[in-house]
Amino acid sequence: MSRSTLTPDPRPLTPDLSVTIGSLRLKNPVLVASGTFGYGTEYAGLVDLSRLGGIVTKTLTPEAWPGNDPPRAAETAAGMLNSIGLQNVGVEGFIRDKLPYLQTVDTAVIVNIGGGPIEEFVAVAERLADCDGIDGIEVNMSCPNVAGGMDFSTDPRRAAQLITRLRKVVDLPLIAKLTPNVTDIGEIARSVEEAGADAVSAINTLRGMAIDVKTRRPKLGGITGGLSGPAIKPVAVAAVWSIARRVTIPIIGIGGIMSTEDALEFLIAGAAAIQVGTANFVNPKTGTDIVAGLDTYCAQEGITSIRSLIGSARVP
């Protein structure tokens, strides 16, 4: 009779939090979202980056980009608007100044790319494909803050074209990031799946606007901007749910996540991983707190692998 049957091990099994996104294995399903965590360095002193499932970096364009006129942010009810307009260091600046540090961090590095015409996306992707230390590419097809930036993810045909082109130059896991500002997000997801995306992430920000009634001026220099934060969580959960009904590739859920409960809601709705966005500004430790929270939750509920939670919603 083996020892284990005589004296039960008092320590509960360590739950397996790992998930896979295409060929990419994440140590846990908690990523930080593009544009809300810089390039990793900024929060390195405050957050143990190696505890995160991964870091998604700010959207890169071929050249450094100045962004929109300020003001670029406004607080709203349980949310915020931004019209950053993709200010970024450009792909070369990233490779030179930011990537070396990221390569030293023991977490998945997913680089988010953007652009105007398809060729710009392709140029950035090709350049990144040559680099070490990049674990995946997320395609920001959906940024509402640059002119024409939305077309790729509001038209299923164009979305597919973009992904098809990128698929040719990128072997890395390719994640299509979708906008909620469409009639049928499931249809867009379906078309990028067919075009060869390894995963979709949803959602980017909702189109929104606020006006200062004293000055009668829009609160954003870009007039309209993107709404994020807890306010949009129900919209994001519904998006994940709809997409899960239409595709078989993994879904990364994003939108208003601030707590372990929020993360669980997305997993149960069908997300294989989640990203923490705006909440990083509020509490930079949100992501790592959620990792700890998922661990505790699984241990308490006797869940051996978090993968068993994905899409586990109970419906009549």
């Binding site: 300020p70 990083n280 930079p284």
Partner: protein, 288 residues
């Protein structure tokens, strides 16, 4: 003015409210205990606060605990290394500052800091003027105090020009006087000091007593900063100012808090107030 390659460390701590008291109409003074932050704080630094009550044990959903959602930035007004406390002066202008004003001694706040670029320290033998509008006075307590305590400068070489809408908002001028610093006041309604803009006091001083001002520090509303920068330019005077900006993150990641800066040869570039500032050289920023 890019951030130094090894910036001072930043901490996220739960700081106990040691005191939080009203010092004028809608004007408050708060003391917070956070030894790590105090140890590294330099004049010009700011902190980023969660004003609401966030406790892991709360039965409230997390989003509800963070209402309003974003942190609020405030300049460090004073620090006390012995007690491990720092102080802020704040004016209630909206929901966030209102909630802050209701927090009581013994409660604790989530504080991120110290953040941002600091002032060029006041140096011996270089007479300085600090010109402030309203709560813009906050960082100058720290600036003056630090220089005097370090024995780097004499109070006689400092002048404070302090303006506000009305007399009751000029709270704190005694503190400078107690340090031995000359203070001139201005109010929009004439209830104390000069009846008019504080920048007129600067204009007069630069004309009548230019030797009192070899370097200028400015903090206050945009029109006041614009006018001060213009006067400095005319007088060929160097100096710095501390800016504000909507700051979701406070640490340089969100790119929201930018101001256009003159950066030859690149031309105009957007710099983040939270990491490239809030303290900028007087002439580098294009004020709106």
């Amino acid at each position: 003015m890019t951030p130094p390659s090894s910036p001072s460390p930043v901490f996220q701590v739960r700081a106990e409210v040691v005191a939080n008291r009203q010092i004028g109409p809608g004007l408050y003074w708060i003391d917070l205990a956070a030894p790590e932050i105090v140890e590294h704080a330099r004049p010009g630094h700011f902190v980023h606060l969660v004003v609401s009550d966030t406790t892991p044990e709360s039965p409230c959903p997390v989003w509800m605990q963070y209402t309003p959602l974003l942190r609020r930035p405030f300049s460090i007004a004073e620090h006390d290394r012995a007690r491990g406390t720092f102080s802020l002066i704040y004016r209630v202008v909206g929901g966030g500052t209102h909630i802050l004003s209701t927090r009581r001694a013994g409660e604790s706040l989530d504080v991120l800091g110290p953040l941002g670029q600091t002032f060029v320290p006041i140096q011996s033998g270089r007479p300085v003027v600090m010109i402030a509008g309203g709560v813009g006075i906050a960082p100058f307590f720290f600036l003056a105090q630090e220089a005097i305590q370090a024995g780097r400068a004499r109070p006689q070489d400092m002048t404070v020009l302090f303006g506000a809408a009305t007399a009751s908002l000029l709270s704190g001028s005694d503190k400078f006087r107690a340090m031995g610093i000359d203070v001139s006041l201005a109010t929009d309604d004439g209830t104390a000091g000069f009846h008019g803009f504080v920048t007129v006091l600067l204009e007069d001083l630069l004309r009548q007593n230019p030797s009192r001002c070899a370097y200028l520090y400015v903090c206050g509303p945009t029109p006041m900063m614009r006018r001060s920068a213009a006067l400095a330019k005319e007088a060929g005077l160097l100096g710095q100012m501390s800016l504000e900006g909507i700051m979701p993150c406070g640490v340089g990641v969100c790119m929201a808090c930018v101001v256009p800066c003159v950066r030859p040869p690149a031309g105009t570039v957007y710099e983040r107030v939270c990491v490239s500032g809030p303290v900028f050289d007087l002439q580098e920023v294009i004020l709106p």
